[in-house]
Structures are given as structure tokens and as C-alpha cells.
Symmetry: C2
Subunit: 665 residues, 2 copies
């Protein structure tokens, strides 16, 4: 397509941006306008994509990190004939897949954006996967999973040039440190198939950017992180054209196009003014603008070119990526291992049977145990360095390209990428998070390193799975299951070695639990003093079992429930055990808010849509008319944590065996 | 002190670093060693501090962002005569204030660190406050709070040169984007009294850094963000000396010293090797090292010089900063305002009566309403731009220097600085967070912008206060109270204008609630069908009140509890109302995890340390033998959210009045 034709396209884009934002009565026309030339030139002259095979490995990729430019984004697909006029006009309405900011509901969206500063890391993750395919071709011998590998390798051989990942960024967005984290990663790793396109229109939502129109500053920043850069006038088609030509042949480093643009470009009422970030035009202005842009665009359509070659293999989807069994865990009952060891060992075994498993670690591998995987599969270990936001962003991109990402760091440091994690479901991404060194049992390093809010955080992630194994054997089994799990899965482990409680054959279904009944099972309700149920997770299961022994000597029957599956939770078993109990003691190495205690309280109330609050009480009333009640005690981290020995801290927080025994009435 | 003497100090520092880490059996000797020369030269030659008045405004400040170098940090204070040998040897033990990573328990710690990448923003916040004092002096006329202002201004006048804030950073730590966010802020705002000192030893915990010994790279990065830089050999006392001299006279921009160092410097066993990040020495090595460093350091002490002048005024502590009353809210019952308006208006009034109130906003001021404060008090409005981690870090620093920081953005974007927020209590910092545009009622912009996990997150912050007003009048009153509140306080508001429910005179104590009793109060229990209690917060209070009207027509008595105080929660009123109810309906515009529902469930169980689970049921049994139970329904955001009109989304998520009516049995 020649440049003159592009002018027509650009008018059509501006026409539709105005039409749909004004039809919706909301959106961001001005920030869409500033990117029009940059995106029309890319989409219709350099981008190649097979819309019949969106997952095809040879497709280029495009991510609008500045997701609020969605009106432009969808308009591009409309002109490419992918979105009908009717669909386009549904923009931002309830029934439409064309949401205010792109999500997985629009099938061609690589990633959900709208929370700024997330797109670049995701794009780099996709670029990493493309590079991984090429490595696989070179190192076929290394590949274990033949069925998968040959096809993937073949698909790669058939590629003439490796596809590129383009990420459109706003300049105001560059104030998010997450961008520089990601830029450093791409620069350090010389990922040269990712292209950042910065639309520098000089304005944020409320204020002009500090850098303003001195866009060379952004070039210097990218260069300092190891990127090549090209500075252009973002509305000059010839300059843009030359830039994309250069990008096409560039090798050896990531590259950024820094484009100086005008916010609201094309409509005088808007152009280069502050305060119009998400403002609609007055009726008269709208009318004349639509006339101006609408002239002669009747039926304007344009073709996005097909990739030069076809690959045999499409990116496998998650159902095809279910890992094979890794057999039994290597631990013997009674031995001592940290639960984190079970995850680390399982990952190595999973790596052997599935070459889509990739482990990312934040410079903690010798603590988290990821170093074992790094040693076994250097090609599939990503040292992200201390950059959790980038770790999460990469995982979204890797997942979208068919990898099975596992993220490892201390559980508390996932708080650093909460925003990226809560966005992941909107990208339909799946990943396993291994949070180790959880709780006060971490000890001397002190509160800055202790994950005490991680369960609350992970539970809120839409569609998440949250587990907390009490030993390495259950950690092994849970890791095996969670690798193939859809959505964001979280496994919480600790640093302290503890006794292996389970046999290698034991199963740990997601949504299940394990019960340790009192030894004197046989003695009937009438002969014993009291039935106590202790619900625990992770390290507190071991404290609960100690308490069970001590209380047995006082002829108090204690049942311990290992609630390893926190979300989903085993409500059925809980209700069954609660019925028989006089007292419920909940003990967790976590803050009381949003942890095991609240999971249990919710389960008791929400067992059915309309749970009878009093039912357990009434049940008790029948077989225990004296008290007619179930005493509930919730032991959790309630004193401000500090440095100390694990056992000191468990006692200090009143979550150790002594506190449990003391809490029994 | 002459340089030769410094050699003795450095030996003593290395001696104590080894002694206390090996006594503790944990810690980070190697990363402490690489900073020894940089810190001894600063602390004993350039730093000035009056230990008798740690809050004195003329004191310099030092923050170890690389908090794991705490062994060096405490050893400096030991040689300055502040920490006794006995105290020093208590390092990392339970009873000691000298934690594994510095916290508020050590009275001279400016900030808790250990979660890397947080110290720089905190230091910049302290530097901002120092600069603010000087502005106050120039603009005394602008100052409202005379008592405070004169003394503060006077204190500033008496300063010969403004104090400096020094921040020690590790190079591996620089991979955290938070550093570049903060660097951009300081560069843009030309904050020239903050000094970053980068100890570039080339190693992280697990791996060498990507940049390695090519430390010029860090200089280029800082320069690209508007910083001056000096590159030195971090073990060459003369180069260090010259650098600090240059820093002393530098003006017009922040400045960074980039020091090339050797990890483990001084002990051959450690020097420049990977894998010794937190490793202790073998006995023999330790013995010879202690002999080497211990020789002739008997009783070595050194003086930290006093500030050249004394200020009259110490930094006011929070109890002195209690704001004065701002009187009644300007809203009339029945008018329509968004709850966020109540916060925005109250902040302007608070700004008038207290010149320590400072508002930080993340380029959202025209949405959050902070633009009103920005207009009224340009000197006390900080446009952080889209950089939430920096916003939180600045707030910690500002709070430590006696300001009352208020942070404003969309509630969901606080997920971006969860790590900084959960660390804030360890710095003994106080701040008010205004999270607006919460919940699905945000509408068309879609799920990326909707705060649906914010209550769960904020509740986990140690010692936090969490409130959610249902109208602008209660928002006004709550903002007034929370400004002076100790710790991290969170106020959640929405975008949608809703009816003013309360009179300006109404009080909203923290820990309280408001109850809307059914109109037919008088009709006795026998004459009506059923008593329903609806617990709601924020926008769902309005849905609950609609449902109350509709159900009244069916002769169903509905009581609505506005649970505006989420943490602490009004358990007393809840239990009182539950006793009279046949059904409890909880409705919230938040995910079910960690929100109002779980607060209520916890309250019911934890009303007393050993709550009787069945008690409410038994109570019912007495006056309602037929059902003998309280039905519980928890309405929350359970379907994956999307774009749409607020009313559509409230209905879609089944949290609107229709869903409430439908849920009543």
C-alpha cells in the first residue's frame, strides 16, 4: 500500500475513533489520535498476521500497553475487516467484547492492558518464547518431549524471519518503573525481536509530562538500558516508514521508536492542549470533524499481510500442555525436608517430561530451590533479577505463547507485582507462583522478608488456586497438579525443614484435605472429655500434631485437619468434622485478615447459598445440651513480627503447639 | 579525622561485622564489607547528626536501602558510641532492637528496609520536606498555621546549609524499577539535597549482576533521569573523599556516587566471588580474619560531628500534628455527590488549618478530586505522575519528617505499591490513602480500572484503619479523623454520584456504623413476617435502602447497617442487630475474598476470644423455635467483571437492589 492511501486510512481511523467514543459517551479520543500514523503504518505496511490462525507461531504480535487507546486499536481491526461496523459501535457496552481497555474477550488481544506500564514486559515474554523456539531448533538433541519438539522445531525452520513483537507505549506511562525494569531485562538479554513504540504526546491525564516534548530524553533512557533507538516525528509518514524499515533489519538488541506526537492530532479543538484526556467533543465540533474525516472513506478497507510462511505447529493451548506424571516423591516418612524442596524437586522432574515448563526467579534461586531447575535446564531458566513486576509480565507473555511459566521468589515479594497478577486473568494467562520463606518461621532475617499477607492477596485473584502444603511430599504432588492448572496458581512453602508427614503414594487433590484422627478413635463420645478440631496449614500443622499428642495425655481427643487446599477449600470435610467437635481451633502463620481463619468462617456460612448459621449449634444442642455451642479460637499472627528464632517467633505470635494447648478450654 | 585513622575505623567495622554475623549465625558480611569505606568516610567525615535530638530538622539523614548490610549499619553506630558492645552482639536476636534488616525498633533508623528498591523514594520524601521548610521561610505570608510555621521557618533560617539525605543502594537492587521511578521524580523536581550512593560490587544473591563491573552504565542511567553522577573506586579513600566534597557543593539536581567495589572486600576467602551472599566463614578463616581486623582496634571510637547550627524546632511528632476541626460538611441531605467529593473537599479544608497536610497524586487529580487541593495549595501538592511505588515511598519519608501525607489514585492502583504499604508500619510511618473509582460501579472503563481487592489488601496492613463511606457527608467526617490517625489509613470511595444520606452534624466515629431501621418500627415481632438485616458498604448501601423500601411493601422488616468502618469493625452493633434478625444479607462491591463478608463472619466468631459459634442460633431458638436459624447470604463480585453501565454491572454481579430483594427468603 502506498503512502497516499495511508492518508485515507488515517482519516477513516480518526472518523471511527470519534464515532465510537462519542457513541459510548466515554473513552480517549485524543490519545488515540496521537498514535494513528504510527499504528496505521505498522499495521498495514509492516505487520503480518494470519487472522484465521491467531495462535500461529509465525504471526507478528502487537500489544497496546497504552490500553486506553482502545478506540484506535479496535478501529484498526475494523479497517482490516475483522470487526464489523455493528460490532465496532458496540464499543464499551455490556454485551460487547470491545471493552474500555482490551481484555481476553477480544480474541486478538495479546494481553489485557489499561493498568499502565504492563505491556512491555508481556511483549518481552512473547519475544523470549519466539527466541526459545529458535534455540530448540539448534539444540534438538536437548529436547525431551519429541512429539512437541519436532513439530515446534519444524515450525520454526519454516520461518523465513522470526516474527516481531510490537508494543505501543505512552510517554506518561513511562513514569512507571515497571517499564525500566522490563527494558533492563530485554537489554541485558539482547532480546532483539521486541520493538517498543513510544507515542510521546507530552501529556498525561491530569498534567503535561515532566519531559514534555524533549523526547530525546526517552531515547537516552532506553539507550542506557541497552536498547537501540530511533527518534521520529510521529505524524510524518516518511519518517515512520524509514524507522520501521530500520527496525526490520536491526539485530543484536531490542529497539525503541521514540515518536514525538501531538495529543488530539487532527482536531484543532483538541490539539496539543491539556485537560482533554478523556473528553468528548461539543456537538458542533464533532459534526465538522466527522465530515472532515468521513469524506471519501466509504468502504475503505485495508489488508494486513499474511506471514511469509506457514508453520505446521500452532502454539499449543493449555489443554494440550497438561504435563505427564512425574511419579512418586523421593521423600520417606519421618525424614526432614523444607516444603520448598518438594516444589523445587518436582519442577526438575516436570522439566524433564515437558519442555514448555519454564522457571523464572528473582535472584533468589539458591533460596527458593530454583537453582536445581536452572542447572538442569539452563535454556528454560530465566534469571529475572530483582524485578518482580517484570517476572509477572514475562509470565503472562510466555503463557500466551504456550509456555508453562513458574515464578519463584519469597512469598512476600509477590506483593511487588500484585497489579500484574490481578490483571493476568484478564489476559487469560496461566502461571504457577512458588512463594517460599513464608511466615514468621522465616526467623532472623526479620519482618521485611516474611510473607504474612500472601494468602489474602492470592485469594483475591480472580479464578486463582491457592495451596499451602505442610511437607515436601504434598508439595511435590501439588506442584505436579498445578503446572497444568488454568489461571493463577499459588503454592506457599517455608524455609524450615520439617518432618515428612505423608507417604509418596498419598494423593492431594486440589480442593481436598488430610485428617489426622485421634489415636483413641475407638473410645466413644461418652468416655472422653472433649472433642477438639484443629485446622492448620503449612508449618502450623506440625505444631498442631505436637499439641494433639500432648492433649491426648489429658484424655482430650484432638483431630487435626491439614487444610492444604485453601482455594478451593474442602468445606465438606470441615462441616463433617465440625459436627463432631466441641471446639474449633484455627492456627496459621499469617495475619488474621484474609487467611485460613476467614476461609473457614466463610465456608461455614457459605456451605450452601443460604447456610443456616445456627445449624452446627443446633446439632450440638442435640448431643451436648450442656454447652450447646462450639467454641472457636483463631490463632494467627497478631503481634507486630520481628527478628528471632523460628520457635521463638511461633511462640511470640501464639501459633505454636504451646499456644494451641493453652487455647483448649 | 585524618584518612589514616579511617583505616583503623574500617578494620574495626569489618571486625564487628564478622563478630556479630557469626554470633548470630546469619546475616550478610560480604555485602557489608563492600560498603565499609563508602560509609565510614560518610559517617565520620561528612555526616552530621545530633544523637540527643534525632528528630532535629538540621540533622543529615542516612538510609540503608540495601538493608541486608545491617551489620555494617549497626557497627557504625557502635563506633559512634550509640550502641554498646553488649547491644551490638544481640544482633538478630529476639530481644534486640537490632533486627536482621533495620526497622523502627532501632530509634535511629529513618526507614525500615530489606525489601529492596524502597530506600531511594523514602529518602527523596525526606529531602522534599527539607526543601518545603525552606519554601515556607520564603513564603511566610502563605502560612496559615502560625504556631507551627514560625517555629519551623525559624528553624530553617537558623540552618547554615540545608541538611542532606544519603541513601546507600546495592547494584543488584537497581534492577527494581522502583528506583528509576524515584530517580525520575527527583530529577524532574531537581531535588538536590538527596545523594544516592551505589555500592556496585557486581553480585546479587544468586547471580552476578548483568551489568557487572561496567559501572559507567549506572552513571548513564542516572544521568538520563536528570541526575549528576560521580564514578569512584569504592575502596579508595581519596576518591571517596573528593566525591563527598563535590557532593557537598553540588546544586541544581540530585547526585549519585557510583562506586565500583569488591564484594567481601578484605577477606580473601570472600573477595569478588559469587555464592557467598549470606555465607559465614569457616572457623579457621574467621579466626585469622578477626585477628587481622582486631589488631589495635581496642577501644576505637569515632565522633559523628554535630550539625553546624541548632534549630529551635524539632520535627513535630504525630500527636502534635492532630488537625483542628474543619466544621460541618457542605452537603445537604438528598443532594447528589460522589463520595470521592467528600474526601476532596475535606482535604482542602484540612489544608487550611494544618500546613503539614500534603497531597500526592498519580496523574489522576482531575478524577480523584485532588485537583482542588492542588489549586489551593500548590506548594503542598505533589504530582508524582504514574508512579505509585514512588508515591508510597515519598509518603513514608514525608511522614518521618513530620508531614501528614495523603495519597490519591484509583483504589486498584494501590496494588502497585502493596510492598511499600506493608513495609510502612515497620518504618512507623503514617499516611492516608484515598482510593477512588472503586468497584464495578466504575463502569465503562472496564475491569483493569476496578478496585475489587483493595479492602482485602488494606486490611492485611499491620495496624491499618479501613473505612468505606456511603456518601460525601460521611466521607468528609472520616477524612477529618483519619488525617491524624497513626499508621496506614485507607478511605475507599466511588465515582458515581449518590444521594447524601446523612446530616452534616452526624458523627462517624472510627469503629462505628449507622443503622437504618425499618419505618414500621412500632409493629411488634408477632405482626410482621420476617426481620432481615442487610449489611452494606459504600454504593451498596444505596442499593440496600432501595431494597428496604421494596421489601417494606411486602411487609418484610428490613434493617440496613452502613458498615462504613471496616477495620476496626462495629461488632457490638452487628451482634445486637443479628440477634433480632431471621436473615442476614451482606452486599459489597468487592470480591468475596477478604471483604466485608469475611469481616462480618470473623466478627461473629471472634466477638470474644472464645465466641460461642451457636449462640446467635440459640438466641433465635428461644424466640423463633420454628426455624431456629439465621439464614446468611453473601452478595459480592463473583462473575468476572467487564465494561458496562454501572447499573448493568451491579445487576450482573448480583449486588444491586434487585439481587438483594431476590435473596430474601
Amino acid at each position: 500500500m502506498d503512502l497516499p492511501e495511508i492518508e485515507k486510512i488515517n482519516n477513516a481511523l480518526r472518523y471511527w475513533i470519534l464515532r465510537i467514543t462519542h457513541a459510548a459517551g466515554s473513552g480517549h479520543p485524543t490519545t488515540s489520535f496521537s498514535s494513528v500514523e504510527l499504528m496505521s503504518m505498522l499495521f498495514f505496511r509492516y505487520f503480518s498476521f494470519d487472522f484465521s490462525r491467531p495462535d500461529a507461531s509465525e504471526n507478528d504480535r502487537i500489544i497496546f500497553s497504552k490500553g486506553h487507546a482502545s478506540a484506535l486499536y479496535y478501529s484498526l481491526f475494523h479497517l482490516a475487516g475483522i470487526i464489523s461496523e455493528k460490532e465496532l459501535l458496540g464499543y464499551r457496552t455490556f454485551e460487547s467484547a470491545l471493552e474500555g481497555h482490551p481484555t481476553f474477550r477480544f480474541p486478538y488481544a495479546e494481553a489485557a492492558t489499561g493498568s499502565l506500564g504492563q505491556g512491555l514486559a508481556i511483549g518481552i515474554g512473547e519475544a523470549w518464547e519466539i527466541r526459545y523456539r529458535s534455540k530448540m531448533k539448534d539444540q534438538r538433541s536437548k529436547i525431551i518431549d519429541n512429539q512437541n519438539s519436532t513439530s515446534v522445531a519444524a515450525s520454526f525452520e519454516s520461518l523465513v524471519s522470526s516474527p516481531s513483537v510490537y508494543v505501543l507505549l505512552g510517554d506518561a506511562e513511562l513514569s512507571e518503573g515497571s517499564n525500566w525494569e522490563a527494558a533492563a531485562f530485554a537489554g541485558n538479554n539482547k532480546i532483539d525481536n521486541v520493538v517498543a513504540i513510544v507515542d510521546a504526546n507530552g501529556f498525561g491525564q491530569f498534567a503535561p509530562t515532566a519531559v514534555g516534548s524533549d523526547v530525546e530524553v526517552y531515547a537516552r533512557r532506553f539507550e542506557s538500558f541497552g536498547w537501540a533507538t530511533i527518534v521520529v516525528d510521529g505524524h510524518d509518514l516518511h519518517q515512520i516508514d524509514i524507522a520501521y524499515e530500520k527496525v526490520k533489519i536491526h539485530k543484536g538488541s531490542p529497539i525503541a521508536i521514540i515518536a514525538k506526537t501531538v495529543k488530539g492530532k487532527g482536531v484543532g479543538y483538541y490539539e496539543g492542549k491539556n485537560g482533554f484526556h478523556n473528553k468528548m467533543l461539543p456537538e458542533e465540533e464533532l459534526k465538522s470533524a466527522l465530515e472532515k474525516f468521513g469524506a471519501g472513506i466509504e468502504g475503505v478497507k485495508e489488508v494486513v499481510k499474511m506471514p511469509e510462511t506457514k508453520s505446521i505447529q500452532q502454539t499449543v493451548n493449555i489443554s494440550e500442555r497438561q504435563p505427564k506424571s512425574i511419579g512418586l516423591s523421593p521423600y520417606a516418612k519421618g525424614e526432614k525436608f523444607a516444603s520448598k524442596q518438594g516444589v523445587a524437586d518436582a519442577l526438575v522432574s516436570l522439566g524433564k517430561v515437558n519442555n514448555r515448563v519454564v522457571v523464572l526467579d528473582g535472584d533468589m534461586a539458591n533460596s527458593t530451590g530454583s537453582d536445581l531447575f536452572a542447572k538442569a535446564f539452563p535454556d528454560r531458566f530465566i534469571e529475572v533479577s530483582i524485578a518482580e513486576q517484570t517476572m509477572a509480565g514475562l509470565a503472562v507473555g510466555l503463557s500466551r505463547r504456550g509456555m508453562l511459566p513458574v515464578l519463584a521468589t519469597f512469598s512476600v515479594f509477590f506483593t511487588r507485582c500484585f497489579d500484574q497478577l490481578r490483571m493476568a486473568p484478564l489476559s487469560d494467562a496461566s502461571m504457577l507462583l512458588h512463594g517460599s520463606y513464608s511466615g514468621v518461621s522465616l526467623g532472623k532475617d526479620g519482618p521485611s522478608q516474611m510473607g504474612l499477607e500472601d494468602i489474602a492477596m492470592m485469594r483475591t485473584i480472580f479464578g486463582s488456586t491457592v495451596v499451602c502444603p505442610s511437607d515436601a511430599a504434598s508439595a511435590w504432588k501439588l506442584t505436579e497438579q498445578l503446572i497444568g492448572q488454568k489461571g493463577v496458581s499459588y503454592i506457599r512453602t517455608v524455609r524450615e525443614p520439617t518432618e515428612i508427614l505423608y507417604a509418596s503414594e498419598d494423593e492431594f487433590p486440589i480442593g481436598g484435605s488430610k485428617v489426622f484422627y485421634p489415636s483413641h478413635q475407638r473410645s466413644s463420645a461418652s468416655t472422653h472429655k472433649r472433642n477438639v478440631l484443629i485446622c492448620a496449614i503449612g508449618i502450623t500443622v506440625h505444631e498442631a500434631l505436637k499439641a494433639q499428642k500432648m492433649l491426648a495425655e489429658k484424655n482430650i481427643q484432638v483431630t487435626v485437619m491439614d487444610c492444604y487446599s485453601i482455594k478451593p477449600f474442602d468445606t465438606k470435610t470441615l462441616l463433617m468434622l465440625v459436627k463432631e467437635a466441641d471446639q474449633l481451633v484455627i492456627v496459621e502463620d499469617h495475619y488474621p485478615e484474609g487467611g485460613l481463619g476467614e476461609v473457614i468462617f466463610s465456608s461455614l456460612f457459605e456451605a450452601s447459598p443460604k447456610t443456616s448459621f445456627a445449624r452446627p449449634g443446633l446439632a450440638k444442642l442435640k448431643n451436648n445440651a450442656v454447652t450447646g455451642s462450639l467454641a472457636v479460637t483463631h490463632l494467627a499472627v497478631r503481634s507486630e513480627p520481628r527478628s528471632g528464632k523460628p520457635e521463638e517467633l511461633l511462640a511470640f505470635e501464639k501459633i505454636d503447639y504451646g499456644a494451641i494447648v493453652g487455647s483448649v478450654i
